[in-house]
Amino acid sequence: MKIELKNICKTFNKQSNTINNLDMTINDGEFVALVGPSGCGKSTTMLMIAGIYKPTSGNLYFDGQLVNDLEPKDRNIGMVFQSYALYPHMTVLDNIAFPLKQQKVPKEERYERAKNAADMVHLGHLLDRKPSQLSGGQQQRVALARAIVKKPKVLLLDEPMSNLDARLKIEMREEISRIQKELGITAIMVTHDQEEAMTTADRVAIMKEGELIQYSSPMELYNRPKNYFVAQFIGNPPMNFLKSQLAVKDGKCQFYINDTTVDLNNHLPKIKSHNSIKDIYAGIRPYDLKLGQKGDITLDGVVSLVEPTGHSKMVNVKVGDDRIRFFADPLQKIERGSKITLTASISSIHLFDCESGENLTAETIGEGQDNKLVINS
């Protein structure tokens, strides 16, 4: 099912829009991840697609059909609620079988399918429990099983795995992907786990304060964040930002980081004026920073914190007034307070306008990152 949101607004208190002019198309069979800061309107969007909330204005189309007034039950949707919303008076089995019951699936088949779904989420041994006797994660899994058991046309997953442990999460994620692909379900998933979003989704939609900021493939999101907000939001740990200035002189660009002047040989089509000085943020992802001096630019700093993360060490470094992070090999000895030098290649640097937040990096730089290195390999 192709889902189109056209100019959708939603307001709760009549003063400000919770969802503001949302325009978005989810193609048939696509898996879209919806991410954004807490409270930005993700759940509200989901509930509107589900038909629980009606848009205050704007239209919602399923396969080109206006469905603003279609009842939720007629939309053939499976949904995991952020709050699970299990039926407290029903057992796990009945909870899972409930959507099937509504479809008038014969009793035997219904329980058969419900049991299979329960097994899939590893709850086969708890079928007779009431939700109140389950752990948080178990509850969430019941919700998950209930959403997929009826093989819906559209699957809405509102943080469906937030309370599951890492292993289970991966397993579930793969299971969902499999089912989604197999049945050609159109799926939208809200998640705060960026890895989850990146690995599972065909496209990722980033929302902020009720507006859609960027909507593109995971790699594009990561490599070509549309603006400062996306750049700092996507990536874990987040991108490092250094305050800087960009000078354009006679079509030639330069910017300064940490006493180094960097020449931008590639053109910067996003800047109109040919002579100007702009405050910018220069962003570098932690993974793109390396110890040493071999890269295009270098940064000198003082180590302020070293956090072990298992496979590597996350090192916080103070560079001038800015704090940046990078990952070091866990076996490298880095001590708090010691001075170190970091380096990065110019292609890994993103520039953002301080005021508008817009990404100023020329397309070619962004692309270059891919191209150049693909050629290298």
Binding site: I52, Y53, Q65, D69, L70
Partner: protein, 304 residues
């Protein structure tokens, strides 16, 4: 899906609440609302045992003003309603709390609730007879018999305080109303709120005040209001217990209305008294509505 279907859908959506309300509204309108209009009309007639609608203007109300017993009846009404209501609501709340929150063991709570239901489920006459037998001023009154065992003269107990008697007897019955509703409401509070409150350091008192009371605000308002109106309009137990006596010491407005309408068959006059009662009742309801903020308790639908 065609456009017409949406239309029907839309219509169905708006008609569902009315559909669900229909039996309720039909019953109420026919058997409650219409009769009330009749009563209001009736108040301006002097309908008597012949059941004729002969209008007599505001004679009934004039007569009420002239009735020398009216001030005392009104006073009795207020005393009776106020104190009984206090018992009904407050003690009902105490009972509800005790039997469904403090006493965690469900069977013990149920036992006490059952005992407190006894007065309500006994036939009114028998319940009243129990009171009369226990507090009878004659030497054969049960309490007096006990006193006689230790050579005390018969006490007068409640016979000299008819108002206390009707307040206590009604209070005992009314308390169970609150008790049942409150304990049901308390049982519906999710357990994790209590857990959170305990962790937050809440004392029992604070749990009651900050968790339970807000959670049962609606039942509290309902019970207060409903009992207020019930007390204003009910007379059954008073009729049986004291009949309003001695003299008019325990006569209340509703009993007066009963006496007028069904003892002396002055239906018109009885209706007029009821009408006055209603005006009083509405005044009080309005106050209670304000105090509890009824408007706020009418939440909006979250399915659109």
């Amino acid at each position: 899906m065609k456009k017409s279907k949406f239309l029907i859908n839309g219509m169905r959506k708006h008609s569902l609440p009315w559909l669900m309300l229909a039996p309720f509204l039909i019953l109420i309108v026919i058997f409650f609302f219409l009769p009330i209009i009749l009563i209001a009309v009736n108040a301006f007639t002097d309908m008597d045992s012949a059941l004729q609608w002969t209008f007599n203007g505001i004679d009934n109300f004039k007569k009420m003003l002239l009735d020398p017993n009216m001030p005392e009846i009104l006073k009795n009404t207020f005393i009776y309603v106020f104190f009984t209501l206090a018992i009904n609501v407050l003690f009902g709340l105490v009972l509800g709390l005790l039997t469904s929150y403090f006493i965690q063991k469900e069977s013990v709570g149920l036992l006490f609730r059952t005992i407190w239901m006894l007065p309500r489920i006994s036939p009114p006459v028998v319940y009243v007879l129990l009171w009369l037998w226990f507090f009878d001023p004659s030497p054969y009154g049960i309490l007096n018999s006990l006193r006689a065992l230790v050579d005390l003269p018969p006490g007068e107990w409640l016979s000299s305080n008819p108002k206390t008697a009707i307040v206590l007897a009604n209070g005992m019955i009314g308390a169970s109303f609150g008790m049942i509703i409150f304990s049901s409401a308390i049982k519906s509070i999710p357990e994790n709120l209590f857990q959170a409150a305990k962790v937050d350091g809440a004392s029992q008192w604070s749990i009651i005040q900050d968790i339970i009371i807000p959670a049962i605000r609606w039942p509290l308002m309902f019970v207060t209001m409903w009992q207020l109106l019930s007390l204003l309009t009910s007379y059954e137990y008073i009729l049986l217990l004291t009949g309003g006596g001695p003299m008019v010491e325990s006569e209340v407005l509703s009993l007066y209305s009963y006496h007028k309408a069904f003892e002396s068959f002055e239906y018109g006059y009885g209706s007029a008294v009821s009408l006055v009662l209603v005006v009083i009742a509405l005044g009080f309801s309005a106050i209670i509505w304000k105090v509890f903020g009824m408007k706020k308790m009418m939440g909006t639908s979250r399915v659109e």
